[in-house]
């Protein structure tokens, strides 16, 4: 026990003597949380909107006004011809071209139907999809409006307009504030990345410096060395979580509905999984550079398949199956459930036990692959 304590003490000394270490631990998470949470938004705004009005009627003007009124669209200009508009799209100046054909209003009144042409720049497919939804919403509203008006005025008999109105209610995040949704996820990312990188590079560093060889000829026990090496990073992981939660609460005002102790309980087990991966990586690499690349490879896959940026439900079935092996996935799920929904231990017990299982498997593998003799 004395030996373990001494290694822990030595490890902390080394961490705090490393000049680059303190900013990495405390400043980087803060910056990343502030920058990413403000920038990583799924909302599509400032859509560059242009139109070709060949009709010049009351109806066409009304339609364009509706677009102007929307906060998502920025009506930049009107074109006289489609060629001219296409040219601007080619240059990337406009995102959407709405073409209102000749006799748009007349056809609406006479034949009760008319057509519009919408061209959307789909270089960014996801954004194009969202833009399409916005445009469809505006046109549908316009359509309903004009239909009722036309019916009322043009038909001899008065018909009461009948519409089905839907008012969605967004549970757990009333205002659809994406920060509420993203901040806990990004916090997970930070805790994972920092502990994985720091721990995987740590033992490799001893290999690189040659100190591991000196340690290996001492009667120190495997478990003493591993616990002594990894415990400081377990503590650091919890410190980073605390710093992140404070930022989430104080700066982003993210609700924390559930029991915060539950988050700490889960994180403390989760960190074992990450440290196990880190130890495993460092056992199988010779230099810090190799360790860094391998850790980075896993982090990228884990992050992209965690449901943090893209919902897991929309992935193909095989990818969904792969995410079952991704520890970050469970952490993202849990931190969102606990913070936004107020989940209790019973609600997260499934994820919790999976993580406990992973912790045992990964650490078992890692300890087995650590050899003092080769």
């Amino acid at each position: 026990m004395k030996t373990i304590l001494f290694i822990i003490q030595k490890e902390f000394r080394q961490i705090f003597r490393n000049k680059a270490m303190l900013p990495i631990i405390f400043v980087l998470p803060l910056l990343q949380l502030l920058i990413l949470s403000n920038a990583a938004s799924f909302e599509v705004k400032n859509i560059q909107f242009s139109y070709i009005d060949s009709d010049h009627s009351a109806a066409s003007r009304k339609l364009i006004t509706n677009f102007k009124a929307s906060s998502y669209f920025k009506v930049i200009q009107s074109f006289n011809s489609k060629t001219e508009a296409n040219h601007e799209m080619q240059k990337g100046k406009v995102d959407v071209i709405l073409e209102i054909p000749n006799h748009f209003e007349r056809n609406l009144i006479k034949e009760k139907k008319s057509s519009l042409s919408v061209s959307i720049n789909a270089i960014d497919g996801a954004a194009a999809g969202i833009e399409n939804v916005y445009i469809t919403q505006i046109i549908t509203a316009f359509n309903q409006n004009i239909q009722t008006n036309l019916f009322q005025y043009n038909e001899a008999t008065y018909v009461q307009p009948q519409n089905i109105v839907t008012i969605p209610s967004f549970w757990y995040n009333n205002t659809l504030n994406y920060k509420t949704f993203m901040v806990p996820g990004i916090l997970v990312l930070l805790v994972t990345m920092l502990t994985l990188f720091l721990s995987s590079m740590n033992i490799v560093r001893e290999k690189e410096m040659g100190t591991l060889e000196q340690i290996n000829v001492t009667p120190i026990k495997k478990y003493q060395f591993i616990i002594g090496k990894l415990f400081p990073f377990w503590v650091l992981g919890l410190v980073i979580l605390t710093v992140g939660l404070l930022i989430a609460k104080l700066i982003f005002n993210v609700p924390i509905l559930g029991n915060i102790g539950l988050i700490y309980l889960f994180t403390s087990v989760y960190l074992f999984v990450i440290l196990g991966i880190g130890l495993f990586i460092s056992n199988h690499t010779e230099t810090q550079q190799q360790a860094m690349f391998i850790a980075w490879f896993f982090t990228v896959i884990f992050i992209l398949m965690s449901g943090l940026f893209t919902p897991i439900e929309s992935m193909p079935q095989w990818a969904q199956n792969v995410t079952l092996f991704n520890p970050i996935r469970y952490f993202v799920e849990i931190i969102r459930m606990v913070m936004l929904k107020g989940a209790t231990f019973l609600d997260i017990s499934f994820q919790f036990f999976i993580i406990v299982l992973y912790a045992f498997i990964l650490n078992g593998l890692a300890v087995l692959s650590y050899k003092k003799v080769n």
Partner: protein, 298 residues
């Protein structure tokens, strides 16, 4: 016997690092493994300090088998690897305390053993190990290897990259430690250091060529070596190599060491030969064989 090595072989993939090596080191002996880089010295050290398993053969250190009793060996040997391998970001004192603690002892307990060495670095005990000079680092490493009072001390090329004065000091320290009853196995690529050992093993390409005391190694050498010098050294080597009865020629300090095949070699004949080749300032005289000469001849 403090160290017994029997028929040890070790190969990395297809490359044989050491082949069928056997030697014994008596208790309290200062034993040297002398050989060039890549001879297999470090491999022997790593096998004896239980860091590496040999492919064949057996070895015991302080009466413990290196495979079966590796735990006991780790308690009773001190190892100083060739590369400085202490924590550069910890201070001198912290490094020493750290190694004392993981060996389950304290600095005070074995202070008398390291006192003579530690006293030289004590003024810098608050300095980080990375900021020490080469000689200081080596003294600290020796202190750390001694802190648990080992029975056997393994020193892998301890003087490589150290200045001549510190090297001399270091060997004096080893002599002192030997007096305290510690068996020392030391390796070095420097032939001149070999003379400081009680016995040496000349090792090359993974094989032991000779084991004897340094005096006997040179005494038993039967060939006569001539120191030869002339103004144009390069041309001298070329011409000596073309001398009909030459056995070997190699540079040795400011002289060339020349050995002849013939028993009745006459140096005046060689002198005329060299004069005919337009050499000036020629010097030829008999020299005492050194370990390097023996080594070059093996």
């Amino acid at each position: 016997m403090s160290i017994i090595v029997q028929n040890i072989s070790k190969s990395y993939n297809d490359i044989k690092a050491v082949e069928n090596i056997s030697f014994e080191v008596k208790e309290g002996e200062l034993f040297g493994l002398i050989g060039p880089d890549g001879a297999g010295k470090t491999t022997i050290f790593r096998i004896l300090t239980t860091l590496l398993l040999s492919n064949e053969g057996s070895a015991t250190v302080a009466d413990f088998d290196v495979v079966k009793d590796y735990k006991s060996i780790r308690n009773s040997v001190g190892y100083m690897p060739g590369k400085f391998s202490l924590y550069q970001d910890l201070t001198v004192e912290e490094n020493l305390t750290f190694f004392a603690t993981i060996f389950g002892t304290t600095i005070e307990e074995n202070y008398d053993l390291i006192k003579d060495i530690y006293i030289q670095i004590e003024p810098f005990k608050k300095r980080r190990a990375g900021a020490l000079s080469g000689g200081m680092k080596q003294k600290l490493a020796l202190c750390c290897a001694l802190i648990h009072k080992p029975k056997v001390l393994f020193l892998d090329e301890p003087t490589t990259g150290v200045d001549p004065v510190s090297r001399k000091e270091f060997w004096e320290m080893l002599k002192q430690l030997q007096k305290k009853g510690i068996t020392i196995l030391v390796s070095t690529p420097y032939m001149d250091e070999a003379a400081m050992c009680d016995r040496i093993a000349l090792i090359q390409k993974g094989k032991i060529l000779k084991i004897d005391s340094p005096e006997n190694v040179t005494k038993k050498y039967d060939k006569i070596i001539y120191d030869i010098r002339a103004k144009d050294t390069y041309q001298l080597i070329q011409d000596l190599k073309h001398y009909p009865s030459q056995y070997s020629v190699f540079a040795f300090g400011e002289y060339l060491h020349y050995i002849d095949k013939k028993q009745n070699f006459n140096s005046t004949e060689l002198l005329t030969y060299l004069q005919n080749k337009n050499h000036t300032e020629i010097e030829i005289h008999i020299s005492n064989p050194t370990i390097e000469d023996v080594f070059m001849d093996l």
